[in-house]
């Protein structure tokens, strides 16, 4: 079965009936997992659903439709707080992947190395999940449960990612570490968002690290340390190993656990220094 509805309701009805078990948008995770194998699953293709497209504002929050692709995110006029997500969008695969893959798919695929997740954690984003029973919203941190595990129920469809409005002054960045320039799965990636008062005092800091645990993680200890500090040169020095204690990196072909832990600390420090340098400029 290959269902490609144009209305959300059709999709939800199909899911409610226990129809297609595989939801497809950009295909950038679906096909690579099936090289040389028969394509046998029943498919719900959500790319014809107009309601899932586009980036817009609703109720004071930014709403990124579930069918929005990386290139659209990279090229949209978005507030500076979303710069982390826009930087990540340019680092996903190559241009072909950015033109196909969706942010929602990145979340639902729930790879530990999903570049979108730390950004959305730093942005305090939520996901909107719809089913024939109704609609619910979940913080991204609750949605992504682990390696390839999410809180999406079988009859649910992710319809949007909701990014709450940040303070005007909020700035963010994203740093990705890989073993080559393009087309690379992250060894570690960091998203950092800082909201500073006019005098430089940090009102809010949200820092997240990916590829260092089953799911990307915020660093609440560090965030607490940063609050009230001045966003100024040298701020990266505040980052200490114990701030990353929650991370649980593994050894794999891309790097050892020890390396990941150290690189994460460094990248977090560099992300903060970069935001400080920008603020000073």
């Amino acid at each position: 079965m290959y269902l490609r509805p144009s209305m959300v309701e059709e999709a939800l009805a199909a899911l409610a009936e226990g129809g297609p078990t595989t939801i497809l948008a950009g295909g950038t995770d679906y096909y690579p997992a099936r090289v040389g194998r028969p394509l046998t699953e029943d498919i719900l293709d959500i790319t014809a659903i107009a309601a899932l497209r586009g980036i817009g504002e609703r109720d004071g929050a930014l709403r990124i439709g579930a069918a929005v692709r990386w290139t659209e995110i990279a090229e949209a006029a978005l507030p500076p707080s979303l710069r982390c997500l826009q930087l990540a969008a340019r680092e996903i695969g190559g241009r072909q992947i950015q033109n196909a893959g969706t942010l929602a798919g990145n979340l639902c695929n729930a790879s530990p190395a999903a570049d979108g997740v730390p950004c959305l954690l730093a942005l305090d984003a939520e996901v909107e999940l719809a089913s024939a029973r109704g609609t619910r919203r979940l913080p991204v941190a609750e949605f992504v449960r682990g390696n390839r595990r999410t809180a999406r129920r079988p009859d649910e469809l992710m319809t949007a990612i909701i990014v709450p409005r940040c303070a005007e002054a909020a700035r963010s960045t994203f740093l990705k570490l890989g073993a080559r320039r393009y087309l690379v799965i992250s060894i570690v990636m960091v998203a950092a968002l800082i909201e500073a008062a006019p005098d430089g005092a940090i009102a809010a800091a949200r820092i997240a690290v990916g590829a260092c645990s089953a799911a990307a993680q915020r660093l609440p200890l560090l965030e607490a340390v940063l609050r009230g500090r001045r966003l100024a040169s040298g701020i990266g020095c505040l980052v200490a190993a114990e701030h990353l204690g929650e991370l649980a990196p593994i050894d794999d072909v891309r790097g050892t656990a020890a390396y990941r832990r150290e690189a994460a600390r460094r990248l977090v420090a560099r992300a903060l220094d970069e935001l400080a340098a920008e603020a000073a400029a």
């Binding site: 290959y2 490609r4 497809l24 950009g26 295909g27 950038t28 679906y30 096909y31 690579p32 090289v35 040389g36 194998r37 028969p38 394509l39 498919i43 293709d45 790319t47 290139t71 340019r90 695969g93 190559g94 241009r95 072909q96 992947i97 033109n99 196909a100 570490l177 073993a179 080559r180 320039r181 393009y182 087309l183 690379v184 799965i185 060894i187 072909v253 891309r254 790097g255 050892t256 020890a258 390396y259 990941r260 150290e262 690189a263 460094r266 990248l267 560099r270």
Partner: protein
């Protein structure tokens, strides 16, 4: 095709198109199989390589990731559409004149990505170009000429092709280049009779196991479209193959035991839909898993299980070169450096997976497939089929990259057997994981070496021991074991040399031929040790090499006296000003550095024997003229993208004295071309080039003799007719009354043969292993992020003595591509069976990983070579990795003895050295 499949309508290259297809099918497959547009190439089916890039509503997408159901109502442009659109003529011409396509398999994807870019930014810069094309992998070009081509899209047209006598030395575009730019080149997957059956091999998931086949009848019953299941018992002749006449240790289909993960156990043959539908888990195979022998150390341990009864100690072969008294030299030396090094399995990662078809024609079998060695394939398939070589015809497809990986048989015996037994044509295309798990790799090496010098830096001794992991089967293991000892002392005069190698069997992927046959691994040890030696003696690394460089008249470690063409000193001379400037600039930058970045500049040199080691490896070329005066070069040399079609045409044209445009080419068909030997060992320019020169000169003599003209007369080709001009008089030659002299329809024909003069090596490796050597030195400028352990290349300068650059642009193309592979070897490439069997876990350099490259071509002519030419294919790669490692040391003081120097390994070494 099932009746429930919907019709999907879209615009394809401007035309309304409707296909009937399951919506989930990959667009790439539908374009190729339903629309017949094979210009869109499939390299991975996983979005990792970008070869299948097409435009959908103007935006580039990997067609392998697009369900055809999503393109309903949309506009699709493929390479065929781009080629038909005059707006893109300038782009294709720019690729052509810049040599931006080598094998051409990635080129459609590159052009589509470039078209996407140029629509958004008509005048892009280099960074934008890399960003836009960064999703397409190229394994041949090193990307730089592709960037040049995109930036120069509005540039001047290429100059006209060279006139008679001016082809050698000309930077002319590839004679076969245009077909690579419009999607018409036919690779292994691009042809097959409509009625062909398909074959899929079932392979072992285990590194070591015994197995029994279950009841295959149930599978046959479930799938009526399954025509035949091949097992070892079906092989008509010998179920074994191997490169060496006396080592046929690899079965076509395993006989109850498998020795590596990926070994073929049986093959399913049937219609396309059936073969695609059968899941591997449905094939009844009972496995009895055994403990695999992994790594050379385990294989050499006493009591280790023997992979092959003939080699109870798992040692396939030993090689050695002995000259002088090494122990005495070490004892007397002013400085000795010692090191132990290891390298990984490296995958060729050509973008074209193995593909082709076979068909039975009476009592003959014909195979159209990608290969680097049609004649060896012919003989080997004949043996497996129980046929005479004359009963086998090999028609090489265009080859989408080889690098040594297509020198071994892969699918040929399977499709030949299936076609023979079913009487129907049989096609097969390897998937990317199948290609990676089942075909050969670069040998992992474990090397221990000592190098000694006197106080003035004169090299006294090289003591070198290397074990090469040859995997489960011999393949080219003996070649590596024999070539390496000759090269272990480097391009230097060394008083005493002891170089010993072993090729060792393990339960890992067979290691075979890969650009350099063990020498790239060797120089990782010797050239980094030489740097240490220079430091110990307080000598400049370049001057140490210069002082010891082999020169004409010097005696090598095998006792060979170099007669000519030994250009290492000239390479180093060319590098010296850049070396000094770059070293000083890096030191100055580091002196003022406050952050984590450190710059470094490193150097490495190499030599490389052209052609087979101490073995006859002749090439025969034929050139003929038909009744209407058309000149054809019959070349059995397979052009795998390196440019031999162009190089041989240039050489033959000058030998014959006609414009290169007058030469037509027939290539590689074992029924139509004489044996040129294999495309390997950097030999085609030197050996086949020499043969082409002899053939061209001989035909020239025939033509002039027929015209009654003297040797100085000019041949002119105008409007397809040949004229002879002498003493100001010109007359047309008429060949129409001559009898046809051969099957090709030629009336005049001449053959040239060249076999480089070598001798066997004695037990101590003494003799003349090669007729000539290429020399080179490369310099790498890098930047290390000491906090993260990442290495960024800033520039590479490559000085290569090629004897004579027959086509400087093609030579540069080889150098660029070799350097890209050297970067991969140094920094990122590591094949792990079962773990990195795809192109997102196995990393090769991308657009952003190859820096600007400056090529310095040194032409110290080789008298045996055509117009002085030697070879460049493998030399291009060899010095790069040690140059990078030496640059890392210069930047950081850290010596890495294991490659690839991945960020985590690099950072661990930096931490150990005290870097925060």
């Amino acid at each position: 095709m099932s009746a429930t499949e919907p019709r999907i309508a879209f615009t394809l290259n401007g035309a309304d198109t409707t296909v009937t297809a399951a919506p989930i099918r990959r667009l790439a497959a539908v374009l190729r199989e339903e629309c017949g547009l094979t210009g869109t190439k499939i390299g991975c089916d996983a979005g990792d390589c970008g070869a299948c890039t097409v435009l959908v509503d103007g935006a580039q997408l990997c067609a392998c990731l697009v369900p055809v159901g999503q393109v309903a109502g949309r506009r699709i442009t493929t390479i065929e559409g781009l080629a038909a659109d005059p707006r893109y003529d300038a782009l294709r011409q720019s690729f052509h004149r810049h040599g931006a396509a080598q094998c051409g398999i990635c080129t459609p994807g590159m052009l589509m990505a470039a078209a996407d870019l140029l629509a958004r930014a008509p005048r892009p810069d280099a960074a934008m170009t890399a960003d836009a094309l960064g999703g397409v992998l190229c394994r041949c070009t090193g990307y730089r000429k592709i960037i040049d081509a995109v930036l120069d899209v509005a540039g001047a047209e290429a100059p006209p092709l060279p006139a008679a006598g001016e082809a050698v030395g000309a930077r002319m575009p590839k004679v076969d280049g245009l077909a690579k730019l419009d999607g018409t080149e036919r690779y292994g997957a691009d042809e097959g009779p409509a009625e062909a059956l398909w074959l899929k091999a079932i392979r072992s998931p285990h590194a070591a196991a015994r197995f029994t086949l279950g009841d295959l009848r149930a599978l046959r019953a479930k799938y009526p479209g399954l025509v035949r299941i091949l097992t070892a018992a079906d092989i008509p002749g010998k179920n074994s193959f191997g490169i060496y006449p006396d080592i046929k240790d690899q079965p076509v289909l395993a006989e109850g035991v498998v020795r590596f993960r990926g070994e073929a156990v049986l093959a399913l043959v049937g219609d396309a839909e059936t073969i695609a539908a059968i899941g591997e888990e449905e094939v009844p195979i009972a496995w009895h898993i055994e403990a695999p022998v992994i790594g050379v150390a385990a294989a050499l341990r006493s009591g280790a299980p023997a992979l092959h009864a003939a080699h109870p100690d798992n040692v396939l072969i030993k090689g050695r070169v002995l000259s002088g008294d090494v122990e005495a030299a070490l004892a007397s030396a002013a400085a000795v450096v010692t090191g132990e090094f290891s390298t990984a399995f490296v995958e060729h990662a050509y973008i074209e997976p193995e593909a082709g078809y076979a068909r039975r024609v009476g009592d003959r079998i014909e195979i159209f497939a990608c290969t680097q060695t049609p004649y060896m394939d012919r003989d080997e398939v004949a043996r497996i089929m129980g046929l005479s070589p004359e009963q086998v015809r090999i028609i090489p497809s265009a080859v989408g990259g080889g690098f040594g990986g297509k020198l071994d048989l892969s699918l040929q015996p399977l499709i030949a057997t299936a076609a023979w037994l079913t009487g129907r044509p049989v096609r097969c295309i390897y998937t990317r994981p199948e290609s990676m798990m089942s075909t050969t790799k670069r040998h992992p090496a474990h090397i221990k070496a000592r190098i000694a010098a006197d106080a003035e830096g004169r090299l006294l001794a090289v003591d070198f021991h290397a074990d090469f992991n040859t995997g489960a089967y011999a393949s080219w293991g003996p070649t590596v074991a024999n070539r390496v000892p000759v090269h272990a002392s480097g391009p230097y005069r060394v008083a005493a040399v002891r170089a010993e190698t072993r090729a060792v069997y393990t339960n890992e992927t067979p290691a075979g031929a890969f650009r350099g046959f063990g020498v790239p691994q060797t120089v990782i040890a010797t050239e980094t040790l030489l740097d240490e030696l220079a430091e110990k003696l307080d000598l400049d690394p370049l001057e140490l090499r210069h002082r010891n460089a082999l020169r004409v008249g010097d005696r090598t470690a095998t006792g060979q006296v170099l007669q000519a063409s030994a250009g290492l000193a000239a390479c180093l001379d060319a590098l010296r000003p850049r070396w000094r400037e770059a070293r000083a600039a890096a030191a100055a930058a580091n002196a003022g550095a406050t952050g984590p970045l450190r710059r470094g500049v490193g150097l490495a040199a190499m030599w490389y024997g052209i052609g087979n080691t101490s073995m006859s490896n002749p090439s025969t070329m034929r050139v003929g003229i038909d009744r209407v005066g058309r000149i054809t070069l019959y070349s059995g040399a397979v052009d795998i993208g390196q440019g031999s079609n162009t190089i041989l045409s240039q050489i033959c044209a000058d030998a014959l004295g006609v414009p290169v445009a007058a030469i037509r080419l027939v290539t590689g068909d074992t029924d139509r071309t004489p044996d040129a030997g294999k495309t390997s060992a950097s030999r085609q320019t030197f050996i086949s080039g020499a043969a082409a020169k002899v053939a061209g000169e001989a035909l020239r003599r025939q033509v002039l003799e027929r015209a009654g003209a003297g040797p100085a007369a000019r041949l002119l080709v105008e409007s397809g007719r040949i004229f002879v001009e002498e003493s100001g008089e010109r007359h047309a030659l008429d060949f129409s009354d001559l009898p046809v002299s051969n099957e090709s329809g030629d009336v005049l024909s001449a053959t040239g043969r060249f076999d480089p003069p070598t001798t066997a090596l004695d037990a101590d490796g003494q003799g003349v292993p090669y007729a000539t050597y290429a020399f080179a030195a490369q310099m790498a400028e890098i930047e290390v992020d000491t906090g993260l352990g990442t290495v960024r290349l800033r520039r590479i300068v490559a000085a290569h003595d090629v004897g004579r650059a027959v086509n400087p642009r093609e030579v540069e193309g080889q150098i660029h591509g070799g350097i890209a592979q050297g970067i991969g070897l140094a920094l990122m490439e590591e094949y792990l069976p079962g773990r990195t069997e795809n192109l997102h876990d196995y990393l090769v350099p991308t657009f952003g990983d190859v820096p600007p490259i400056e090529c310095l071509l040194i032409e110290d002519p080789e008298p045996l070579g055509p117009y002085g030419a030697k070879g460049i294919g493998e030399p291009a790669l060899i010095p790069t990795a040690p140059a990078i490692l030496n640059a890392i040391y210069h930047a950081t003081g850290v010596r890495l003895r294991r490659v690839p120097a991945t960020p985590d390994r690099m950072r661990a070494a930096l931490r150990e050295a005290g870097y925060d």
